[in-house]
Amino acid sequence: MFEKLIHELLRGEFICEYRFQALFEFLQNSEQRSDVEAWVERIGYRLSRLGEFGAFYLSYAHVDSEHRTAIRQQFKEIKFTHGPRLQFLSLVQQAQQDDFLLSPGGLIDLSRLSERVGSNPKLMDDHHAMAPSLKGSSVTASLHDNLKRILDGMANDGYVALRNPEREIYMVTGKIAYLHEVCAFLLDHEPTVEREEANPQGHFASNTAGSTHEV
């Protein structure tokens, strides 16, 4: 278990209860976690965690000039890397009308998603606009196939996991908290973006807290 865990961590994976349940439980044991922490420290890493109860991952223990350059490069590409992904997740949330969807454990039903996006011209337009930038996406006649490719791409990146292949249900993993941290971090350093600015556009208004759905 220890060996497998180290391999997954070095692969850059986020160890959460929804994707790597056994490894996550392994890390719940404080002694075993200490062993892992001690091991990764010896190679210049540290075991970090998303929030208090979230997924585990590896980060650099110390930042040298090489890492600094790489991180700066990540910042430069942050919009390119995360923008389409965030747009897609926002679209899924709107389509499924579930404010709690983008939390670890949230379920994405591909058939329902395809049906809702297909029957809503605005969501369809949003999908067409973002699809070319998304990993795995391709222009196909079938909306269902295209959404499946995008979700498979997201699964490949570790943000969702295919929970029920027969019914094509995907589950949001603990790595989603990483995107939330990225968002919070960007907004902390871009104070000029006010919530009020988003609403007049109408484009993102349905994402914001307090969106109303009929009970």
């Binding site: 692969r11 890493y45 980060s59 991180i71 404010d99 709690f100 939330h180 971090f185 914001t208």
Partner: protein, 422 residues
Amino acid sequence: MARSTDPVIAYIEMLYANRDLISQAYHNAGVRETAENAKGVRALELARALRCFEGDLFRLTGKLRDHLDTVTSKLRAYDRLTRVSPQLERLRFLTTAMVEARHSGERQDMEQMAGDFADECFSIHDNVHANILKLSAQVQSGFATAQSVDEKIRQNQFYLRETAAIQDDLGSLVAFGLPADWQREELYEFARMYSAAVTEFLVGWQVQLAEIWKTIKAMLFKTRQVQVQNSNLARVLYLFQLHPRYEGPEIPVDDTSPAWVLKIEPLPLTAHPNVLSGATSEDLGAIAMSLPARGDSMVTPEDFEPQALIADEVDYTGSVVLEPDLFDAGLAQLLADASTCQEPDGVSAYEWKATRPDLDEIQMRIWLQCLLIEAENHDIDNLAIEPVFEEPENGLAATRNFIDVRMRRISAAFPQVDRLGR
């Protein structure tokens, strides 16, 4: 009232006109057809709201029943829980009345009051117990029933209010003191009943209530977190929309930066199969050397396909890796073992395979059949391959069960005779 031309409205009006029958069928698991309701029952049956179950008994169709279940369960979830304060008031009244009856010597009234007191005590027990169980079940399944933040907030408020009410009830039960004069003979029985039905359970109820508070706290935290996250997501998307060439914040990166900023890049842990790839390095080579051998493989030029075009972006290597089939690998190993076997009976293919878990993917029956086919189609030097049949019980069976294949070395001094006696 004129009938609507809209079929949906007409349908709903028909349901409304027969609402009592639908309600009766839902709550009583069916409705019996009588002379008075025959018209309504027929109309509902034609509208596929009712179906004949047995004789004159009609039941709601599954879909309508499920729909009503869904709708009413949501309403039931917000039902207020039963409070115990009126029952406590009744206990106080009974205590006073008991003392008065004692003074006036009304023996019959005293017995009646003792019975009422016991009923109230057990009724309080049942109500509090049921309230805690119901609230606990609702809280545990809380996030499954709310899809919007607004609904969740409403739910949280409901749970907070109800849990606080149960907390008050428990407080009242604790404060329901046993007066000193309860020690007197006629009230001692009251004290015993109250203790058996209520006091003994108070600690357990308080522990359960503490668990409910803990869950509610977690739900409140998650609701707030989701509110903030959804808001952040919208704001970041707006930021990207405002600044199409956004390149991240200008901030120093050092050891104090958030951990996610310092997340490591994935390390390549498996050797790249294409040696032309720039990812191949000495380290990767060392890792590849440490991997266990996977058996023989062979690289052959890929077959030329006339008129087949390969897209520019395809990484064309011009070769494919062929690996031996599992059966071929097993056969080669078995032949090698059989060739060196010194036993006069040779090797049992059945027993040999049973010791090889790597061949478990091949079914035993198929394995044995394929061995015989292989022996018939190819000359296998120095080995005799013979089927082994199960001995018939009575010696007269028309068919024989094929159970094994035996492989023996053929000695040059004793030429082997084949199965046909040649």
